[in-house]
Amino acid sequence: MKKVYLYKRFERFWHWGQTILILLLIFTGFEIHGTTDFMGYASAVRIHNIAAWVFMVLIVFAVFWHITTDEWKHYLPTIKNMRAQLDYYIVGIFNNAPHPTKKRTLSKLNPLQRLTYFALKVLLIPSMVITGLLYMYFNYPLPGIEMKSLELVAVIHTFIAYLLLTFLIIHLYLITTGHTVTSNLNAMITGWEIMDDDEVKEIVTEAVEEAGMKIKPIDDENDSVGHDEIKNLVIEALKETEEKVDKKKLKGQKGDHHIHDLMKPKPKTKKEE
């Protein structure tokens, strides 16, 4: 078992920022909708509008980040392994079967996640933003293209809110299906995720391949040598780490201690919290 740095700092900030904003928007939104009565209508409207603007700013940053870091590729839907992933949730999970989709820094989402998040980002959130803006600026129509009624806008906005709430419930549950109940949550908080050795090896291999490919053009002559050397170095380092970790792995222990102890031998140093 290893820990791999999976979620970068901005990614986590974006995720948790989104979390707060969506929760705020859901709470205040259903107050505005007339479903609940917690904070008062005026406060609900104010918070909803401010959260909406903050969210839109966050979206702009997130889009920029996804484009500049190529991270958007994670969200391209794929049907590869989708059946396996479904089988895992329906059957395998009850029998300690391994996760069918390995998490890697190059592909950290399983096909179901890809599809869901893709729909979320490309369909639901943009529809929410568009209907939200129409809602806000309904009173300022451009001459000639005035909307007849708020109803369609409001009904779409409400329906997507229900979809998002449904997503939230399932999402909250599925994060408990990692190695341990809290390992996915911890990964999104700290960035480090616990993984099987096999998974880690793959990651390293991939990383080496990536690195190797990038090194190639610089050192044309020692091309293959350089590649292999790096590969060997990494694998050796990995083995050493494995041994160290094996010694320190506290079998039978769960939760934070386990994770905490695993953090220390990582080659990448990490600040104590």
């Binding site: 948790w16 920022g17 707060i20 705020l24 505005i32 909708h33 007339g34 008062g40 209508y41 005026a42 406060s43 409207v45 104010r46 918070i47 509008n49 401010i50 959260a51 903050v54 949730y89 059957v91 395998g92 999970i93 009850f94 029998n95 300690n96 079967a97 009173n139 129509p141 001459p143 000639g144 005035e146 007849k148 009624s149 708020l150 109803e151 409001a154 009904v155 409400t158 329906f159 809110a161 229900y162 979809l163 709430l165 449904t166 419930i169 399932i170 549950y173 408990t176 908080i189 700290t190 919290e273």
Partner: protein, 535 residues
């Protein structure tokens, strides 16, 4: 870990504070919101520019009220011409009514569901006319000395018109004293007619009440003697005797309005969402949450029960528990109410009217109708602005009509003596109708009955302090909100699509059940499920 939680909490809190720190506080003083076109009480110079008691002409012995007018006009030489074009003088103005063209319209010829109409009973009704001697339809509207300057300009409070004297002053009035103490109209001057319309204090409008001469801010935040103590003409700004603003109930065209935004601007709130509301919600809707705050107003008037006399054959009256009339032999049954919650309608400032010659085509008869709907906006706009939601007093009545001709009847109500056919003296509907309709030159078939009527009075006065204005939740709420009756548009917080609600709640329930079941299985099998192993 702690660091992250702290950061999250900070973001959460700051959003919350930002949201709360941005609102309009009810404790805002008059300095904290924009005011235009108005001089504060503290900054006003109330010293008169002229002392009328120094003019010899006003020391003469006046034999008649007309001589006073002549004296006024000897200095204010052109003022009569101004007066003679006003609706205060003519009791009518040219208004374009939808489908009926341009019609002279006013108290002179319109019917309402209070005292029905002035025609035939002028000598008593014109106690509220700014003239002398309008006792019948042959009154000379071109005679300058028929103008009553004093009823509006008396600053002594001692001037009053006599009962049934066609607008002439009561013999007790000291014309020298009054004419030497004239000035800009005070609220007493306007109130003597506008408070008492419909035959009693606050009867007609429901928000024009003698109590407003000296009231608390809760009754009227503008006119309160504890505050700015504003007079009517501070809002009904007047130039050349043309007063801005006209009663909405009797004005077909949306023009010459006295408006809130004239002083308050169209962005009076700090909160933009509140300012935006003004696109479709009149200021009055939130700021006049109830009317008839000091004294009751008449809500229902049923003429059909009139004529019941006491054992001696005399006219009588009965009161309700609050001391308001609920029966008068001359007028029938009434229902009064105070602290009334308005009814709400879309209104674009354009009104229709049931003219005296119009056939009855709806029951209840709509004495006037407020034009407007949700869709009256943008390119569909009928007026200069979209329809807005207005608070309205609806006065419901039951009054006499001609069952053959299907028209409303103008009965003769008042005469100085018995035997002249006036209903209030002789209690004979048939005779009063015959004489009344003959007077206006319209047919009367001889058969009459009583028909239900409705008249709409958009509310404008008795504005409440900001702290008592309507809150979001008064309208944006599921059951029994203020706007429950206005169903032609989608109102957030009130409306929802039943299909979307059902689908949404089903989705959430399904996901909860699915997740719960999945979790249950995981806990039961703890990774040792035989069935899934086989598979």
């Amino acid at each position: 870990m702690k660091k992250y939680i702290t950061t999250l909490l900070l973001v959460f809190l700051s959003t919350w504070l930002l949201a709360y720190g941005n609102g309009d506080s009810p404790q805002d003083s008059i300095d904290s919101f924009p005011i235009l076109n108005y001089i504060l009480k503290a900054d006003r110079n109330t010293n008169p520019s002229v002392d009328h008691s120094k003019f010899d002409i006003l020391h003469q012995t006046f034999d008649s009220a007309q001589q006073v007018t002549a004296a006024c006009l000897s200095c204010h030489t052109e003022r009569d011409k101004e007066i003679m074009t006003t609706s205060h003088w003519l009791w009518q103005r040219e208004e374009k009514i939808e489908g009926k063209g341009v019609v002279p319209l006013g108290k002179r010829n319109i019917l309402n569901n209070f005292c029905i109409g002035t025609m035939g009973s002028e000598a008593t009704c014109t106690r509220c006319h700014i003239g002398y001697g309008w006792k019948d339809k042959y009154f000379d509207f071109n005679e300058p000395t028929n103008i009553d300057c004093l009823v509006c300009h008396d600053n002594t409070g001692s001037y009053k018109k006599g009962k049934g004297m066609a607008g002439l002053p009561d013999p007790s009035v000291d014309l020298n004293f009054v004419s030497q103490n004239v000035g800009s109209p005070t609220k007493e001057n306007c109130g003597v007619c506008h408070f008492w319309g419909g035959g009693g204090n606050n009867v007609k409008h429901g928000e024009l009440d003698i109590a407003m001469l000296d009231c608390s801010p809760e009754v009227d935040v503008h006119m309160t003697t504890e505050g700015e103590d504003m007079s009517c003409v501070d809002c009904h700004v007047t130039d050349k005797h043309q007063m801005s603003g006209k009663v909405y109930a009797l004005s077909s065209e949306n023009k010459d309005r006295a408006t809130c935004v004239y002083c308050h601007t169209d962005k009076p709130h700090k909160d933009n969402i509140l300012n935006d509301h003004n696109a479709r919600v009149a200021c009055q809707t939130c700021h006049i949450p109830v009317y008839a705050k000091a004294n009751a107003t008449k809500m229902i008037w049923d003429w059909s029960t009139a004529g019941r006399l006491d054992d001696h054959g005399h006219s009588m009256h009965e009161n309700d528990a609050d001391g308001n009339h609920n029966y008068l032999s001359i007028k029938g049954n009434f229902v009064y109410d105070d602290h009334v919650i308005p009814e709400y309608f879309w209104f674009n400032g354009i009104a229709g009217h049931q003219l005296i010659e119009d056939k009855i085509d709806t029951i209840p008869v709509q004495m006037n109708s407020l034009s407007g709907s949700y869709l009256d906006k943008g390119l569909n706009m009928k007026s200069s602005a979209p329809s807005k939601i207005w608070p309205v007093k609806v006065h419901r009545g039951k009054q006499i009509y001609d069952t053959e001709n299907m028209t409303l009847i103008q009965p003769k109500l008042w005469a100085p003596n018995k035997g002249e056919g006036a209903y209030w003296k002789d209690f004979d509907w048939d005779k009063a109708s015959r004489i009344g309709m003959e007077y206006v030159g319209l047919p009367y078939s001889g058969s009459y009955d009583f028909v239900e009527t409705e008249m709409y009075w958009p509310l404008n006065h008795q504005v409440s302090p900001a702290s008592e204005s309507l809150q979001c939740i008064d309208c944006h709420t599921r059951p029994n909100g203020r706007l429950a009756g206005l169903t032609d548009f989608y109102l957030p917080g009130r409306d929802f699509n039943p299909f979307v609600e059902t689908a949404g709640i089903s989705l959430i329930l399904a996901s909860l059940i699915g997740v719960g079941f999945h979790m249950f299985c995981r806990m039961v099998f703890k990774g040792n499920c035989k069935i899934s192993e086989e598979k």
